[in-house]
Every structure is written in C-alpha cells, then in structure tokens.
C-alpha cells in the first residue's frame, strides 16, 4: 500500500506490505538502521522512536497507522559533530557497554525530558523501565539523564 512517512524532517513516499511495522519500515524501507530490533514484542525498548514528539515502541505499531505523522529516530537527534545533549551525556557518563539498546535508551531519555517526572533517581528509573539494558549500564544511564535534566 502507498504511504508517506515523514522521518527526521524528510518525506518518504513508499509502497509497503500492510504487515510492515513502523520499526521494519524505518530499518528496511528507509534504511535508517540506528533504531534497533530487540524483542519485537514491546518488551525491551530498543525500537523506541518519537511519533509527533512522543516516545513509542515502533515494533508494536503498523507503519500504515503513521501515514503523514512526524517521526524522529536517533539519526534525527544529532550528528557526530553536533551531538544532542543527551547523546553527549551518554558519552560523558559511559552510559552503555555493547551499545545495542543505546539508541532506544537515548530516544526514551529525550522524551522523558518533556514528561511529568519527579526529581529523584527513582523517578527516572521508573520512567525508563521500558528500556532494558542487558549489559547493566543502568546506573550510568540514570546519571547521564540526571546530568542533562540539571544542566539543559
């Protein structure tokens, strides 16, 4: 079916199978592979992207449901030369080990900045619980997010 996806400010006119998830469409049809496929069932958070500014699990959504909507992926957040403050904070705090969950973590963390969230580390952990890190970099991820919340 025909579809127009607006990803990182750029329009993509595509023809896709109705079964294609937003995740598969972003990775396979648009070839933006920064967004990762982990569990593919909404349980790990690796596929987190923003739709109209809000974080969602792109693996549990059909691409067709997002015709015309504004989608942001990790590639739309910053560039290697001009990192988003959250990307810079993950670097500074070493908020990853293998890196597979990192784009989802950062997309979630950036969305969290605009959500109702209390000041404590526990508040951040609660709102980041949808992003699993099998390497266990949680402490440093929370530190990076708190750093950005205090200084940006």
């Amino acid at each position: 079916m025909p579809i127009t996806l607006r990803i990182n400010g750029k329009e993509h006119n595509l023809r896709i199978d109705p079964r294609a998830t937003l995740l598969d469409c972003i990775r396979e049809s648009v070839a933006l592979t920064g967004t990762k496929k982990g569990c593919d069932h909404g349980q790990c958070g690796a596929c987190t992207v923003h739709v109209n500014g809000r974080r969602v699990s792109s693996c549990l959504s059909l691409a067709l449901m997002h015709d015309g909507q504004e989608i942001t992926t990790i590639e739309g957040l910053g560039t290697p030369d001009t990192l988003h403050p959250m990307q810079a904070a993950f670097l500074a705090h070493d908020g990853y080990q293998c890196g597979y969950c990192t784009s989802g973590q950062i997309m979630s963390a950036v969305a969290l900045l605009k959500e109702p969230c209390g000041p404590s580390d526990a508040d951040v952990k609660e709102l980041m619980s949808g992003n699993i890190c099998r390497c266990g970099a949680y402490q440093k991820i929370v530190a990076a997010i708190q750093d950005v919340r205090k200084h940006v």
């Binding site: 079964r19 958070g45 974080r55 699990s57 959504s61 949808g130």
Partner: protein, 333 residues
C-alpha cells in the same frame, strides 16, 4: 503474521458497518478495530490473532476527555493511557485510576495504549500466547495445559475447569472500584454497560471474554461524580518494581466518617479471571471501625472463595496483605 486488509473508516458508522460483518467480536474475530496496537499487533505476530480486516480507528473523534453533566468524566475510547493518567482532573478526583495506569506497562506503551484497548487487554497466560499449545480460550475444546502446568501467575478467583487465565489490566481494576460505565455503539444502536457486567467469567466458554458482539465499537467510558471526602489508592505487588504484571493488586475507594467506614469500593487485580470487584470486602467494611483488624477481616472476606492451583497458592495470602495494606495506607493519607 497473516496478511490482512488495512482500512481507515471515514466515521464510526462505517467502522461499525464493516465490523458487523464479522462472525464474532471475541477470540478469532475476522475483523478487528486497531488503535494503539500494543496487544493486537503483538498477538498478530504470534498468530494468536489472525483478522482478515483491520479497521484503524485512530483518526475517529474518540480522543477527548470531558466533564459530564452529572459531574463525572467522559473518557474517549482512543484517549492514550498516558494522557488519561496525567490528566489534571483524573489526578485530582480519580487518583486511583491515575495510579493504576502508571503502575502498568512502560512509558512508551502508555503513549500508545488506549482506553478501549486496555478494557480489551488479553491475558498473559503463556499457553494462550503459544499456538503450539492447547488452550480453551484460543481454541475452544482443546484443553487447558495451565491447570496441570505452569500456573504461578494465573488466577485464584473466578477460574473454571476450562480456564484459569488472569485478566492482566491495572486500569480495569481501578475502573471497577470507580464503578465506570462502558458506552458501546453497535449495529442496533447505543448501550451503556456497567464495568462489572462487561467482562465475562470463563465458565465453559473462555473464548468469550466480554459482552461485545460483532460491530460493537466502544466509544467512551464514563466515571460517576467523585465521592466527596473519599480516600483512594492503587497498590500493586509484582516480581519486580516496575514494568511487570501484577501478582496481586488492590484498588480502594473508601470514605471514613469519625472512626467508621461509611462507604467502600474495592477491586482486586492479578488474582481474578476478570477485574475483581469484591462486594464481600465492601460489606465487611461498611459500618465498621477503620482499623487494621477490620481491614484484615475484609481481606479475608475478599479471598474466601479463592481456589489455589499447584503453583499460585501464595497469591491468596499476598492478595489479602495487599488489600489490608492498601486500606491502611489509604485511610492514613
């Protein structure tokens, strides 16, 4: 995933007319409404749901939260769970609902999941989700391997010899304690269904989970006017601190005048085959002193009919402590 026809109906009438052609609105429905997709797309990937037609209702005007003339609240079918939980009126007047929603899923999923979708959330029973296994809910008459198998997370209230699957929703438990009404528009017109009558016990037809018929579109949910002076709390106990389904949960809306309980609405989650309103606990509380001993007595009453399976007997005591503690904390606030 089996392929399907993707349709974006122009209005509710068109959506209902198409959905009315389905053989059933229950398990195995050949036409499905999709909104958030967090349950349905998941189950379609597992081939547990195999609709031939998918009706995207996201662009229908069902996404508003409004005051009702009676002083209550009208919540549209496609209002996102996150918007409902963070709505100022809900946080102020229906705190138990806000707390219950925020205790469930993850921030990403709450941004997607909707009011109506959460009402229709499916069980997490591992046998239901695995098409290689028998399951009376998924395939009527095939048997229930959970009864002799892995049933630690399954139900101790409302089960039958055919199905012991737990209803997984937190939102529905709070709505049961708030006595919500579900509004449905169908081929024959509109009707209003009290939430207590909306979900069905499994009995010998576990594939029938609600009273919905083909073409029935949930349009909104209404909450009655808030009870002045009531204390509300949702307490959820689970295997980890966040992003996990309940082993036991309690939604309480309680009014205390002087030393005595004058009104109580109690519902339990994680232990029943449907969101479990407990008139037994309510009856044990009203007119009694608001004390720890009486809260424990109410909890005993709530679980009197509970029946353990081989692995989930601990849930009976857990649910009692959950409810007694929730009452204690609620009245102390």
């Amino acid at each position: 995933m089996k392929t399907f026809e993707f349709i974006r109906p122009a209005d509710s009438g068109a959506a209902i007319a198409t959905a009315a052609q389905a053989r059933t609105a229950q398990q195995g429905a050949d036409v499905r409404f999709v909104a958030g997709g967090t349950t349905l797309i998941d189950l379609m990937k597992l081939n547990v749901e195999t609709p031939g037609r998918l009706l995207d209702i996201n662009r229908l005007p069902l996404d508003k939260i409004e005051a009702t003339a009676e002083g209550g609240l009208k919540i549209g079918a496609t209002v996102r769970n996150s918007d409902l939980a963070n709505h100022p009126t809900v946080k102020r007047d229906y705190a138990v609902l806000s707390q219950a929603i925020l205790a469930g899923a993850s921030a990403q999923l709450r941004n997607m999941a909707t009011t109506a979708g959460n009402l229709l959330q499916r069980t997490r029973c591992a046998y239901f989700r695995d098409t290689a296994m028998p399951c009376n809910k998924r395939e009527p008459g095939s048997g229930c391997p959970a009864i002799t198998g892995s049933n630690r997370t399954l139900a101790v209230l409302g089960a039958s010899e055919h199905c012991i699957a737990t209803n997984p929703s937190d939102m529905c438990v709070a709505m049961a304690a708030l006595e919500a009404t579900i509004h449905v528009q169908g081929p024959k017109g509109v009707r209003a269904i009290p939430i207590a009558d909306f979900h069905l016990l499994p009995g010998n037809t576990p594939h029938r989970e609600t009273v919905l018929e083909p073409g029935d579109l949930i349009t909104h949910v209404t909450l009655p006017a808030p009870i002045r002076g009531s204390k509300q709390l949702y307490l959820k106990l689970r295997d980890r601190a966040s992003y996990e389904f309940a082993l036991a949960s309690a939604a309480v809306v309680i009014t205390v005048a002087g030393e005595n309980v004058t009104r109580a609405r109690i519902a339990l989650g994680g232990v029943g085959t449907k969101p479990w309103r407990s008139s037994e606990a309510e009856g044990a509380l009203v007119g009694q002193r608001a004390s720890g001993a009486n809260f424990r007595r109410a909890a005993e009453a709530a679980m009197r009919d509970a029946r353990p399976q081989s692995h989930n007997g601990f849930k009976i005591e857990l649910a009692k402590r959950c409810l007694a503690h929730a009452l204690q904390v609620a009245v102390a606030t």
